[in-house]
Amino acid sequence: MWWKFLIYLVMTAVIVLAFITASPMNPVSSLGGPEVYRIFYFHVPQAWVATIAFLMAIFFSIRFLQTRRMDYDVKASTACRLGLLFSILATISGSIFARMTWGEFWNWSEIREVSIFVLLLIYGGYFAFRSAVSDEQTRAAFSAVLSILFGVSAVFLIFILPRIYPVFSLHPTDSIVNGRISITMSPMVAIIFGLSLVSFTALFLWIYKLSVEIFTLARYRAGER
């Protein structure tokens, strides 16, 4: 129970600090000035959580196909549900950011924007499919197969495709996202960002755990096994 309060506390701290400290970045090319970059504290963790959710869904899908246990299907679909939520959040925050700095809400040349769009399409297709199948076992097995196919395709799209095309990236300082954190961030920024990342992840896991419990209970009530 205590950790719930810790999450509340840390997130509040992150939100406050995000606005009272100096802006994390100040590139010359920005239209909106340095203030806009504060969204970095929120946007990146959202995208990060969406990715984790996706990976979890694939993992549980594989486990389902190996064991045929329905609880893996509940876990996989719940991960996708939350993944969709955070993807939508990441798309919105990213789009706002894009409008503020580069002038337009959407740009197909930016590979990360394409990636998140594809992720949305994948989640959309996943749930559209699930609602079109009434038999539980069939739905679970086919969803699992789809997740794996989507996952592999997403790997092609996000990692391999950019190496082929001279796609310019509008995203600032890829060095941060690539993990070379120490180079470009000041300690204060790194701390706030780190706290945000951790608390977003913790929040996600908490919601995830609750959701899985709810769906599992719902299944028991409906008489399934």
């Binding site: 045929r68 076992q137 409906a222 008489g223 399934e224 096994r225």
Partner: protein, 205 residues
């Protein structure tokens, strides 16, 4: 020797229980009739035995000489005749037979094809499209396709569907010919067909 065992089989859809506590043990030469009124779960039980539907509890095991067989392995020995599948309408009867034979792993010669059609009472109709067949003829063709594999286990759901008297006689002869070497399971609610099998399993009560 092919052996079929089912332990503690149960199946339910949601809260509706279809069947429970089914135990089966069959070897070549033995036959079973699953009987019960409409909706008592005969077809579901057959599908669970074949492996097309997962049981809610219990398991079905096919074994040969003590070694357990997986679906891809026992499928070769298993044939099904049932009202809920069709053969290829846009193909002729002969083409259907040749296709199913080839895809099961053996090429069927013209002579064998004629013999099979003769056995089920369809001689001379091999070059007609299945779409032009009557329902009775289609049922006879299903028996012919089932015999292609020389099945070690034959499941027949409602053996007399759409068949006239001579057709039912044909089916009975076919089953009798297989009786000694194979396992036969039939599902029926027709009392006259009970004689086709050696043992009973009552469902639905």
């Amino acid at each position: 020797m092919l052996k079929l065992e089912a332990q503690n089989l149960a199946k339910h859809f949601g809260t509706r229980k279809v069947f429970d506590n089914i135990n089966i043990s069959l070897e070549a030469g033995q036959s079973l009739a699953v009987v019960g009124p409409n909706g008592s779960g005969k077809t579901t039980l057959l599908k669970v035995i074949i492996g097309l539907v997962y049981p809610s509890r219990g398991d079905v095991t096919f074994s040969k000489n003590g070694r357990k067989l997986e679906f891809e392995q026992y499928r070769k020995y298993l044939s099904l005749v049932a009202p809920y599948f069709s053969l290829y309408d846009s193909l002729t009867a002969g083409e259907n037979l040749r296709f199913f034979a080839k895809v099961s792993g053996h090429v069927i010669k013209r002579i064998e094809q004629h013999e099979l059609l003769q056995q089920v009472g369809l001689e001379g109709r091999g070059d007609d499209f299945v779409s032009s067949y009557s329902t009775g003829m289609k049922q006879r063709l299903k028996y012919a396709v089932a015999m292609l594999k020389r099945p070690k286990i034959l499941l027949v759901d409602e053996p007399g569907t759409n068949l006239d008297e001579s057709g039912k006689e044909m089916a009975a002869n076919l089953l009798n010919r297989l009786r000694d070497d194979s396992i036969i399971i039939i599902a029926t609610n027709d009392k006259k067909e009970y004689a086709l099998a050696g043992e009973f399993c009552q469902l639905g009560g």
